[in-house]
Each structure stands twice: as C-alpha cells, then as structure tokens.
C-alpha cells in the first residue's frame, strides 16, 4: 500500500489504479461478515434479492411465502454486530397469492418496484405504501421479470411458463407486444446494459434468444454454444446449453453475457457477436433445480472481473470471468443459494437461499487486533478503572 500511495501521489500511477487494485483485492477476499447479519424476515425460501442502484442501500427480498421485504443496509456507526432490520413489508391482503419469483427496483428511483409471482402476475408496487399500483396478468406462472437499467422506455419483460415473452408497459399499464420464438417456458430474462432495445431470454428449450424489441421479427439471434461457422444465427438447431437455461446476467458494459444451464455449465458469451467465448469454468456448479437463479458479474472497478454464481450445494461460487478459474467458494448457507447481489460502491455481497436467510459477505476488516490491544496508558498506576469502562471498545 505504501508503494502504491507513493506512486499515486507522484502521478506515476493513475489514481484509479490504486482504487481498482484495492477494490479488486477486497472483492477477492470476501468472507462471511462478522459484523452484519440480515434479520430473518421470510418463513419460506427466498427466491430473489436486489439492491437499488439509486441510493445504494435498500435491499429487496422476495420469498416463496409471497412476502417482500425491504432492508436498509446502510450501517449505522458504533455497532459491533449489526442485525439489519426489515423496514417495510407487504401486508397479507396485498400479497401475491403464490410465492414471489423475482423482484426488481425501478431503476431510476426507489419509489417503485416490480415483482413477479407464480400466481401468474407481475406487480408494480408503490414503495411508500407497499401496495400494488398496477398488476399484469401473464396467465402463466412467472419465473422472473426484468426492466432495462438504461432505457427510456419503461417495459418490463416477463419470463413465464408461456413461451411468449410478454412486455408490460409501466406507463400505460398494459401489455405492448409479445416476443415469440421460444419453445417452452422462459426461465430467465435480462435487458442489455448497452443497447436499450436489446433483450435476452433463456428457456427450457435450451436456447438463449437475443431480441431487438423494435423489430417485427424481433428475435435476431439464438446463441450457439458450438460457434458453428457460417450458421444461420436463428437456426433452430442452435442451443446455448444442453439443458434448460435458468440464469442470465450482463456485464456492466454490456459486452458480456453469462448464462447458467441446468447442464451445470456456465457460459460466457460475447454479447456483441453472440459468440461463445468457450471459457471453461470447470465442474464446480450444481444447478439442477428448475427455478430461476440470479448470478452476478462484478466488473465495476474490479479487474479481472469476477462472476458470482449461486450453486445448489449451498455455496456461492466466485470465478475469474475471463479465465474461468474458481477464485473462491462462499460457504455459509444451509440451503440452495438462489440469488446474489452486490452493494454498489462497496465490497459487500448479499446472498439469499432456500434456508430463508440472507447472508452478508464483506472484505475482512483488518487491524482489528489493534483495537483490542489495551492502550498502554491504562497500565499506568494513575489510570482508574472507571476510565477503562468508558473506553468505547
């Protein structure tokens, strides 16, 4: 650190370099937090968590118990062990009938969030009252939904047991059009972080489809895991995985897409060309459950980028995105992990699992031994015992 600071103050290294190096190091060192835990709010498996990108401190969690909680994860000072409390939840009468499969903040303010449920609905919620402002009935159970983080449109794409991908317009409260192409349930859906009209979906038909929602023939590509040369990008033989696809995530620059298949494979796609990059992440992933899971690419200020993949064997796996090396196993859950999210701006990761718990992972706090050391002054004869009790340790 000293050498890095020396280089930084002399302008030999750019200031961003030290930040990136330090953030990367801390991200690679994640461990189960000894200082924070999330109060248990759900009485059933948690299917999805998401932290808002605006104030960067509100965590939404959606459970199979139809409950949605909001946690304020901003840590007050002076706490030794902090139990993050739920600050809002949905009253029974307002809940969706069955389990909530996914939940998402409206990207531009925290006044609104969106949930999908196995009761066939996509709900738009008013955060202040925790009541549904609008409900879309997709007629089939909804596995997940997504809203574009960058777009000027306010379209929520619903992935459901219906092969059609439904687009719900938040402005009108009505469906716009449907995207047809899948053959079977659509499990996972994500908007591109780079092109506002680009949508990617993955389904039980083992395909990942790339859509341009402006086009009449909206499906522009079906990803081919074998990179077959000169093949039709929409060839019906194209498969992304050998088993259904149940998780998708874009990198923050939109150049990469990762997909999770029930073939227990992770694939990294070049989102610009649609090519499989053929990075081999090894045989570590356990993914046999036919529910949508939420992986994560952490690349903002981190190099090399990491991917965090929830695994059925009660862990979150962290891989080097580019070379496929398994970096770390985050062990601590007592159930199948379903969803991970990172707190923006902090090296702080949250994971939710079937054991009804949300775990907090953070970089180890160093120098803690220094706090515990008794100051020498206290050893002086004239230092009274009362003084010691006042110490804030």
């Amino acid at each position: 650190m000293n050498s890095a600071l020396l280089a930084r103050e002399h302008g030999i290294e750019r200031p961003q370099s030290l930040r990136r190096a330090e953030m990367t190091k801390r991200m690679y060192e994640l461990e189960l937090s000894q200082f924070k835990e999330v109060a248990r709010g759900h009485h059933a498996p948690i299917n999805w968590i998401e932290i808002d990108r605006v104030e960067k401190k509100y965590l939404l969690s959606a459970g199979a118990d139809s409950q949605i909680h909001i946690y304020d994860i901003e840590e007050p000072v002076h706490t030794k062990l902090w139990k993050i409390p739920s600050i809002a939840r949905v009253e029974k009468k307002n809940r969706q009938k069955f389990g909530v499969s996914s939940v998402a903040w409206y990207p531009f303010d925290t006044g609104m969030f969106i949930s999908s449920s196995f009761d066939n609905t996509v709900n738009v919620w008013d955060t202040n009252t925790m009541t549904p402002a609008c409900t879309f009935d997709l007629e089939e159970k909804v596995f997940s939904q997504a809203i574009s983080p960058i777009a000027h449109h306010s379209l929520v794409a619903g992935a459901s047991a219906d092969p059609r991908v439904r687009l719900c317009d938040l402005r009108s409260g009505a469906f716009t059009h449907s995207l047809t192409g899948h053959n079977g349930s659509v499990m996972a859906v994500q908007w591109s972080t780079r092109y506002e009209h680009m949508l990617v979906t993955g389904g039980t038909d083992c395909t990942i489809r790339v859509w341009d929602i402006r086009k009449a023939a909206a499906c522009i590509m079906s990803l081919d895991q074998y990179n077959t040369e000169d093949a039709d990008p929409l060839s019906s033989t194209n498969q992304a995985h050998n088993r259904p696809i149940n998780g998708l995530a874009f990198s923050s620059d939109g150049l990469y897409l990762i997909s999770l298949g029930m073939d227990e494979k992770i694939r990294l796609w070049d989102a610009y060309t649609g090519q499989n990059t053929l990075v081999n992440y090894g045989p570590h992933l356990r993914n046999r459950s036919r529910t949508t899971i939420k992986p994560l690419i952490v690349d903002n200020g981190i190099w090399p980028p990491l991917i965090f993949i929830p695994s059925d064997d009660h862990q979150v796996l962290a891989f080097d995105m580019l070379d496929g090396r398994l970096v770390k196993r985050l062990r601590g859950s007592y159930g199948r992990v379903t969803s991970v999210d990172k707190r923006p701006g902090r090296e702080e990761l949250y994971s939710a699992s079937k054991d009804q718990e949300i775990l907090v992972w953070e970089a180890p706090r160093k120098d803690s031994e220094l706090i515990d050391r008794r100051p020498e002054a206290e050893l002086d004869a004239w230092s009274s015992d009362e003084d010691e009790q006042d110490e804030g340790y």
Binding site: A4, L5, P15, Q16, I150, E376, D387, D390, G392
Partner: protein
C-alpha cells in the same frame, strides 16, 4: 449552513502530458503544441527558441493530443480527446489570431470500463480516420470527412475481435498501405493485446470505415514479450511495425521475419519518429535513446539502439528539426535540447538549451513566513524520481538585473534627466562618502564623465535634480551649487551654509531646496533665474532625521516640506513660504523615522513615514488643508527603509528599499504592498531610457545595479535540485530549519529497495545541514514538528514504515523523535516501534496524534519515551489528517471523511461525525469547526458540514454542502496566503493553498453568499459571451463526477474563469455585465465588477 469557495490557480498546470509538433499556426512554420493538465499551449519555434503564441484552457483533462494533415487545408488540425471522452478538432485562424473549433463530440460509453493506462488515439497518416481506444474491448473510429465538418463526422463503433478473451493494455497505431498488394486507400490498424493468460500479441487489420468492416492485415499476428507496451508505425517507405517491450524491441515487417534486439530492462515512456530510419525513445528514468533502422535493398535488415543522454523523465518527445528536440516531462522540468552528432564531455549527445519550469508533482509543501512579515513563501516538494527538487515560490514584483557596477562604498544613487521636460534619465549620479561620480548613458553603454558642468565631484552628493529653469542643482555636504545643464556649462551660483557648516541632510525639487546643518536648523533656498535665493530659515526644536519636499505640484498653495525628527518621533509638514507648521503628528514609540515621502496614489495624497525598524506609517493627506488622517501602520522589513518614487505603467509607485524591498502602489484606492524578488537594496532611483526600459538603479552592498521592474507581481520560483524525491516537508521555527523526507527511486526494474532519509535544511540558504538515513526497506511516511512541553523544546517527529518487497501490507513501522542540536545536527532522541505504517502525524496540545494504517492513536511524552494514551479505529487507511483543538479530522483511503474528538478527562477518542459517502480521499482542509473541504481521487472537491444529530445516536452526520470538479489531483492543502497580508487587508486571512500532481498551486478563498451569487452569474455570462474551445460545457466539466455518481456543481466558483474577465476587451466586458447572448443582466456596473474581480485577482 453554507460555505462558498472561490478557487483559482495561482500557478497554472506545469506538468507536460502530451506534445505534438507541426504547422498548426501557418503552413510554413514549425510549431509545438503542449498540453498541461486541462491547458494547451502553442509555441512558435524559430530554430532557437520557443515563443508562446497562444494558450487556452479546455474544459476537460487532456487525454490525447494528435496533430495531423488533411488534403484540404494547408495547416494541420489538432485532435483533442479529454478524459471525459469528449473530443474536438481545432484549427488556427491566422487572420483572427485565434483557435477555431472545427467540430466536437463525445465518445463516452455508459458502463464501459476505461483503460487503466489511459486512452490511445491515433490518426492515420493521410488524415482520414481517427482511431480511439478508450474502453476495454472497444475501438471506435471517427471518419475525418472531406472538408465539411460537423454532421458528416459520425462516430462509428467498431469492436476488436477478441482472439483469446479480453484485451487489455492495447496500443494502437494506424498506418497506410503497408503493402502494394493491398488497396492503398485503406488504413491499417495494428493492435497489441493481452489474453487471459497475460500473454501479449500483436495483430493487424485493414479498416474500411465506409463499409464498417475490417479484414486481416498484412502483418502476421505475432506473440510478443509480456512487457510489450508500445507500438510504433515505422514511417514510409518501410511500413513496418516496431513493438517496444521492457527487454526487447521487435521490428515486424510483411513478408520478412521479425527482427528482435534485446536491451537492459526499462520502460519506454515516450517516442518520436525523426525520419524513415531514426526513432527517438525515452524511458522512465529519463534516458534518451535513438533507434536506428539499418536498411539494405529497400528492406530493414537490422535495428540498433543507442543511448543519447540523460534528460528529465519524459512524457513526450517532439522533434522540431535541425537537431532540436522538445522533451516534455510531468516529473521534472521540460527541456529543449540540441542533439549533437558527436559526444560531449559527459559522453552524451544532448545539450540542454532551455528549460520549462515544472512544479509537478507537488507531493507536499510548507507555507512559511520566514521573515514574519505577513507574506508567506511556499516551499514545495516537487518532481519524481531523479528529478525531485524543492521549489521556493514567492509572490512579488520582479526586478531583473540588466547591468551591475561593482563598486564599494556607495552611499546613494541619483539620476538626472537630459532636460527638465524630458521623460528619460541619462545620467546616473553615484555618491560616495567623499566623492561623487557621474555616469552618462551613451547609446547602450554607461560612461563615466570626468567633468560635468559645475558638478562637484570631490564631495558627497546629498541631492541633485533638474530645475524648472532647465538648470541642475547639486547639494553636497558643503554647499548648494546651481549650474547649466550642458556638459561644459558654467557654475551659476553657489551657496554655502552659514559659517560653512556641514550640510547633513537636504532635499530638493525643481523650484527650491531645503537643507539642514544639524541642531534643528532648516534653510530654504529658491532657484530664481540662475540664482540661489535664501527664502527662509528657522531653528526647529529637534534634530532633523529625515526631510522631503514635494516632487509634484500640490493643490495647496505652496510647496510643502515634510520633516521627521530625532528624539520626539514627531513628523511635521511645513509650509515652504514661511516654514510655519501646517500639520504635525506624533508617531509614538521610540524608533526614529528614517525616510519620509509625500506621494500621490490615484490622485489621492499620501504621506509615508518609514522608521528605522522597517515599520511604515501611511497617512491620507487632505489636498487643500494638508491635514493628516487615516493613520495606518505596516511592517515591511526589519532594517531602516528608504523611500523613493518611480513610475510604472503611468502610475506612481513607491519603492521602499530595505532588507526586504517592497513596492507600494495602489489600486482601487487601496494601498498594496508587493514583495520584490531581490534582497538587500538600499537606495533606488528611476533610470529609464531606451536602453533601459522601465528600469531603476539601486545600490546594494556590492555596488550599483540597474534592473528592469515588472509591471505586475507574479510568482517567482527557485529550484533546489535534490536528485531524489522529496515526499514531505515540515518547518520548525525555533531551529529555523526545514526537515524533508526523501526517497530515492529504484534505478532499475529489478531493484525494489528504496533509500529513504531525513534531511534538515537551513531556512535561508537551503543548505543541507544533516541527513539521517533510514534502514533498508524503511520509508519515511510522515513528519511533524512538535513540542511536548508547551513549546520550550521542539522535536521533529518522523513516521516510517518498513516495506517488505512482495508484501503489500506494512506490518512494522517506527516513530522517530528527533531534535536539532545547537550545532544544527539531527539527534535521534527516541524511537518507538508500531505495527503498521504511520501515514500521518500531527501535534495536538503537547501530545502527538499518529495515524497508523487506519487507527488513530494519541501519544504523549513520559519518562523520556512516547507512550500511547489511547487509540481508535474506524478507518481503512488514513491518507490525510488535520487537528483542530482536540478534534481530529481524518480523510480515509476509501471512506471519505470522519471527525473524532479526544476527551482529555477520560483520555479517550470518540467519533463525532462521519460522512456516509464512499469517497476515495487524497487530502482535506479544515475551514472552521464545522466545515471541512475534501479532495478525492476523481479530481473533485467537496465541502462537508457537520449537522447535529437529532436521534439518540451520538455520532453526527456530515452533510455535503458543496461539490465541484477541480480537474486536478490535490496532494495537500495548507492554510495561508501567497500575498502579503498586512494589517489593513483582512480578506486574505481565510485563504487556503493547495498543490497538485500537475504542478498547480491553487488558492481557495471563502466567499459571502452575495459574492457567490454574483460570481455564479458572472461565470455563466462570461461563457455566453466567450464560448468555449471545443464547445465543451463548462457546467458539465465542473460537475462532481464520482465513480458512480454525477452531481451538479455547487458551492464553488471557478476563479480562473472569473478572472478571464479581466482579459476581455471593454465591449465584451459590457456584454458580460449586460448579460448579452442569453445571460442575465448583472446587478452591478462594469466598474464595480471590474474592481471586485481585480481585487480577487490580487489575492494570488
């Protein structure tokens, strides 16, 4: 709570980041364009010297600079890319003499990851496309279209194919038609990239912008060494590609095998192509090399690397032709050098012709008022690596010596004009104790005259002047002589004092003189038609100490003689008609007045009285009644002061010669004092003629000098080279020493040890008095001067860290307690080991506050050792710290700012307030008990105010009350001012200075809410009138841009922009006031605004 800051750069950026050469100004003229931070300077090169033609700021930090030619313009165009990914193309209009923005746009990508090493931009040789590589995995091309700018220039997205996986560390270079097999019209792109296994490769493409496609290039894809970091397109006709690594240089060419040569490990930082076979390279240690392509049969057969010499560590090289090379540096002074064909005495080929001062990187600075005169000088730790130095910076009027006469025993120097009505001086009268010499200006030279009219050369001259009748009067210690002005003129009259008494003191103007022969006598003579006529005499109660007669006509009926007395410390104004007392004032105290002067500043009459101890009184004088009012006292030195007037720029200035010469002038009816860059001047006189423009003659201990005087005050910088990096500096008043921590940079890539030492220097001579070398791998991190016994004895406290190579975390450090002995040597009194790196040390009320990694500890001195009182941990790494009473404000590496308080009774530290933002900090400055200004790594400043907490929690939150993008990396804030802070100017008391990596010395002042509102409006009005280079948006540029957050700027005023108002012409100024072109009319007049801005501009 509000806090408004006015931020202005007293020293604009000096670190050169890029330089390009070409005929930007006119078709047949070589010029050099240099970028420094967010400024661009254009120099004309005449074969010998660089002459600044135009300089301008752009609202962005320059990320790349390229000069290229297109077919449709005789001059070159300049492509500028900023770090915010805005770009513009500039050209120069020779008739309007200004820079024209041809087009501009932006290439920013949301979410995309910028290259850590900065962007790479290249333009193909025929100026058809610009290739930009700003973000990982993306290359974007801009087509430079045929003549018409604007709409036609569409950015087009391209994407490098990722062979392997992700590419980092790419360098791009475009070339044209590297083979006849290829269409000559297509530019070729070579890419250096790294795969996931950290292997590096070079590949090439032919780019067709029109069809948005690329094809494989003619160069074979090649593996290169892992340290390869630079691609250079070999110039036509060979069209090869040079790949520069850390240990080898490879030459790639189509159809032929690559040529590789090996060298000692280094990192090449800059390059410049001289011609088809010669390329200059400069490495990070400042070694300059020449790479030669050896050609046989139109093919490059071999390459050869030759070391040319040692220069400042370069960031850019620009070959200006005829063997002259500009070497831009961000770590030392930029240089202009002659490359010789033969070795010189030192065994190299480089002769430095000129240097361009660079203060950057300023890592620390001390602001010290060594002479206790209210004006601080700044001593910066500047430069990196071998170019490290201390720079002494002070603000003042410069006197540039034009001629010096070495004579001893000079008492006074006076000057005479060739005629009464003349406005030049051609004769210099140098008075000694027992003789006088007269020098005359003949053409460019000064000649001593053996005989001059009736001038008495064998006595000392007390006063001499041209009289109204066009005669000359000379007053010696013996007599008053009046004679004709011509060389062989006659003595017209001579008058001795009564009883041939010795004249002790005299003064004269063009009409009369007054002299005294001691014991309070005062005689008055008038010059009437060639005769000296006694017009009065009196005996005053006291001995006269100094006397002066008005030199210009007064509104008052008569001439006025002002007299200062011995013993009574009284000053009187006497009428020249009857020697009656018009006004009288007692100065008080027991210091005798030594010089007295009646002067006019901006048509107001002032009386200045200088005392023997360097104090100066000034009084306003009523022009009609001559009554004195408004007494003010300032201290301008410690030695007797002599006052003299001279005129500069049409206004009267007073020169107060003493041990600290000062120029006194006025502006906006406010008397201002400016330091002079010379010391030890005792008498001055104006000496202006065509050979010596705006000059003064003055006496020093070594003789008489003639110097040209600056019209305005500015910063004067002196350099003390160290050859190693100075990291920290601290001043100790009691020992009159500076202590610095220095670190030697490793001189080869394999050697990671850093020799660090502590040095003490004399505060006047800056001579190194003693050096304490630290242990190996031990690095000095922090230094403070501290006393444990209320100031009776001072210590230097140094914090060091032991940096074990390969281990990023510091586990061991020391606190050294050092004392300067009476022999001015460093004595190590005590050491204490600690478990980390002491990044900051500050004294606090006979105790020490030490930040070890992220823990704040309080230490006290007991039993001849340091003992820990308590500690508190709430941070990751403390990068800066300020102590205010018992409060400790801490800037954390990544957790913004927090405030702690030490409780004396319980001897504990408690957290008072925190900022929840996750700013990555560089430094901080306390404004007052509640307000803190912080600087963070994204080049932003922000202001925090502590707001009392309403909840039960006892820790307050900081509220962000100001945010602003400075565009500079601030390493250090220090309270103080560069301008003399005299008792009558209170506005500068709250100013803060800061030093940045680019060498900016900035000044920050508090503003009132009214001033803030006015200046905000002025900012926007100026932009409406003047526009911006590159059409960049000033408001966007000044917005706070964090890692993930952009916030509108507030609470800060861009002083550089405000002060650009003073450079506008009058009609533009009026437009600013009127709010033309879409601004808003200001609530003040042009004159008022001008005065306000001028006032601010004088604060630095």
């Amino acid at each position: 709570m509000n806090q408004y800051n006015y931020v202005v750069s007293a020293q604009k950026p000096t670190a050169v980041s890029f330089s390009v050469k070409g005929n930007f100004l006119s078709p047949n003229e070589q010029c050099l364009i240099v970028s420094k931070g967010s400024r661009i300077e254009v120099f004309r090169f005449d074969g010998e010297k660089l002459k600044l033609v135009v300089e301008f700021g752009i609202w962005g930090r320059v990320a790349s600079l390229k000069l290229y030619h297109t077919t449709n313009r005789p001059t070159a165009e300049l492509f500028v890319l900023t770090e915010q990914s805005n770009y513009c193309i500039l050209s120069y209009d020779d008739t309007l003499q200004q820079v024209v923005t041809e087009c501009s746009g932006q290439l920013a990508e949301i979410g995309a990851k910028a290259y850590e090493d900065g962007s790479v931009v290249d333009v193909d040789d025929s100026g058809r496309i610009v290739c930009t590589s700003i973000y990982l995995g993306m290359i974007r091309f801009l087509q430079l279209n045929t003549g018409v700018w604007g709409e036609n220039m569409q950015p087009m997205a391209g994407r490098s194919s990722s062979k392997g996986k992700e590419v980092i560390g790419k360098r791009i270079s475009t070339e044209v038609g590297i083979s006849v097999n290829m269409s000559m019209s297509l530019p070729t792109l070579a890419i250096l990239y790294q795969d996931a296994h950290e292997d590096r490769h070079v590949t090439s493409y032919v780019v067709n912008v029109r069809t948005n496609s690329k094809a494989a290039g003619i160069l074979p894809s090649t593996n290169v060494e892992p340290g390869a970091n630079l691609l250079i397109a070999a110039p036509p006709p060979y069209n090869g590609l040079i790949v520069v690594g850390e240990q080898s240089i490879m030459y790639l060419q189509p159809m032929n095998p690559p040529i590789t040569i090996y060298m000692d490990a280094t990192v090449m930082k800059a390059h410049e192509v001289i011609d088809a076979s010669r390329i200059l390279l400069g490495d990070y240690l400042g070694r300059l090399y020449l790479l030669i392509l050896l050609v046989e049969n139109q093919h490059v057969k071999d390459i050869h690397l030759e070391k040319l010499g040692e220069i400042s560590a370069p960031t850019s090289l620009s070959y200006l032709g005829d063997g002259v090379l500009f070497m831009g540096s961000a770590y030392g002074d930029s240089q202009l050098a002659q490359l010789n064909t033969d070795k010189n005495d030192e065994g190299d080929y480089v002769t430095i012709l000129d240097e361009m001062t660079n203060l950057g990187p300023i890592t620390d600075f001390a602001l010290v008022d060594i002479e206790k005169q209210g004006q601080a000088q700044v001593i910066t730790c500047s430069g990196a690596g071998l170019d490290g130095s201390l720079r002494i910076i002070r603000n003042g009027v410069g006197v540039h010596i034009q001629a010096a006469l070495e004579i001893v025993g000079v008492k006074n120097v006076l000057s005479l004009r060739p005629a009464y009505n003349s406005n030049i001086e051609d004769k210099l009268v140098i008075s000694f104790i027992e003789q006088t010499r007269v020098l005359r200006q003949i053409e460019d030279e000064l000649h001593e005259i053996e005989h001059y009219s009736g001038f008495c050369l064998s006595r000392t001259t007390l006063a001499t002047t041209n009289t109204i009748d066009n005669h000359i009067v000379q007053i010696t210690d013996q007599s008053v002589r009046l004679f004709e002005i011509s060389d062989n003129g006659n003595l017209l009259d001579e008058l001795s004092a009564e009883g041939n008494a010795r004249i002790t003191i005299a003064t004269t103007n063009a009409r009369r003189c007054a002299f005294s022969t001691g014991e309070g006598t005062l005689n008055l003579l008038e010059y009437k038609a060639g005769k000296l006529e006694r017009s009065g005499s009196t005996k005053l109660a006291n001995e006269i100490a100094c006397i002066h007669i008005n030199q210009f006509s007064l509104a008052y009926d008569d001439d006025v003689i002002v007299v200062g007395y011995w013993t009574t410390m009284r000053t009187q104004l006497l009428s020249a008609r009857d020697l009656s007392v018009i006004a009288s004032v007692d100065l008080g105290g027991d210091i005798i007045p030594r010089s007295i002067l009646l002067t006019e500043f901006e048509k107001e009459l002032f009386l200045l009285v200088a005392l023997g101890d360097g104090q100066l009184f000034n009084f306003q004088v009523d022009p009609l009644t001559l009554q004195l009012s408004n007494q003010k006292k300032v201290s301008i030195g410690t030695q007797p002061v002599t006052l003299n007037t001279f005129s500069a720029g049409g206004a009267t200035h007073v020169f107060a010669a003493s041990d600290r010469p000062t120029v006194i002038h006025s502006s906006n009816h406010k008397i201002l004092y400016s330091d002079v860059n010379l010391k030890d001047m005792s008498n001055i006189t104006a000496f202006r003629n065509p050979s010596f423009e705006n000059c003064i003659a003055f006496t020093t201990s070594s003789g008489v000098m003639i110097g040209q005087i600056d019209q305005v005050q500015k910063l004067h910088i002196n350099k003390i080279p160290l050859g190693e990096m100075a990291r920290r500096i601290c001043y100790q008043e009691s020992t009159r020493t500076f202590a610095i921590i220095t670190t030697k940079m490793e001189t080869s890539l394999s050697d990671s040890s850093k020799d660090s030492s502590i040095k003490i220097l004399d505060d006047q001579s800056f001579e190194i008095l003693d050096t304490l070398t630290l242990e190996s791998f031990e690095v000095g991190e922090s230094i403070a001067s501290c006393s444990f016994d209320g100031g009776a004895s001072d210590f230097y406290i140094v914090g060091t860290a032991t940096v074990v190579p390969g281990d990023e975390d510091v586990r061991k450090g020391r606190i050294l307690v050092l004392q300067v002995s009476p022999e001015r040597k460093l004595i190590l009194r005590h050491t204490r080991s600690i478990d980390g790196s002491p990044y900051c040390i500050q004294p606090m009320d006979n105790k020490l506050v030490v930040a070890v990694n992220g823990t704040i500890g309080i230490y006290e001195w007991s039993n001849h050792g340091l003992s820990n009182v308590c500690c508190h941990r709430s941070n990751t790494i403390v990068v800066d710290m300020a102590v205010n009473g018992n409060q400790i404000v801490v800037a954390d590496l990544m957790r913004s700012i927090s405030k702690l308080v030490y409780d004396k009774n319980s001897r504990t530290i408690r957290e008072l307030a925190i900022d929840q933002n996750s700013n990555w900090m560089t430094s901080l400055s306390l404004v007052d008990d509640n307000v803190v200004i912080g600087a963070e790594v994204g080049y932003n400043l922000f202001t925090l105010a502590q707001i009392p907490n309403n909840t039960m929690d006892d820790t307050d939150q900081f509220e962000v009350i100001g945010e602003w993008h400075l565009g500079e990396y601030v390493n250090r804030f220090r309270k103080g001012s560069l301008v003399m802070n005299h008792s009558d100017t209170s506005t500068t008391s709250s100013s803060t200075l800061f030093g940045t990596i680019n060498g900016v010395l900035g000044v920050m002042h508090n503003l009132t809410a009214d001033q803030y509102l006015l200046f905000s409006q002025v900012e926007s009005n100026i932009i409406h009138i003047v526009g911006s280079i590159g059409h960049f948006d000033h408001s966007k540029w000044r917005n706070f841009r964090g890692d993930r957050r952009v916030a509108p700027h507030r609470g800060f005023i861009d002083g550089d922009l405000i002060e650009s108002f003073l450079d506008l012409n009058r009609s533009q100024m009026q437009q600013v006031v009127d709010g033309d072109m879409g601004g808003q009319r200001l609530n003040c007049s042009l004159e008022q605004l001008f005065r306000i801005i001028e006032e601010f501009s004088r604060l630095h």
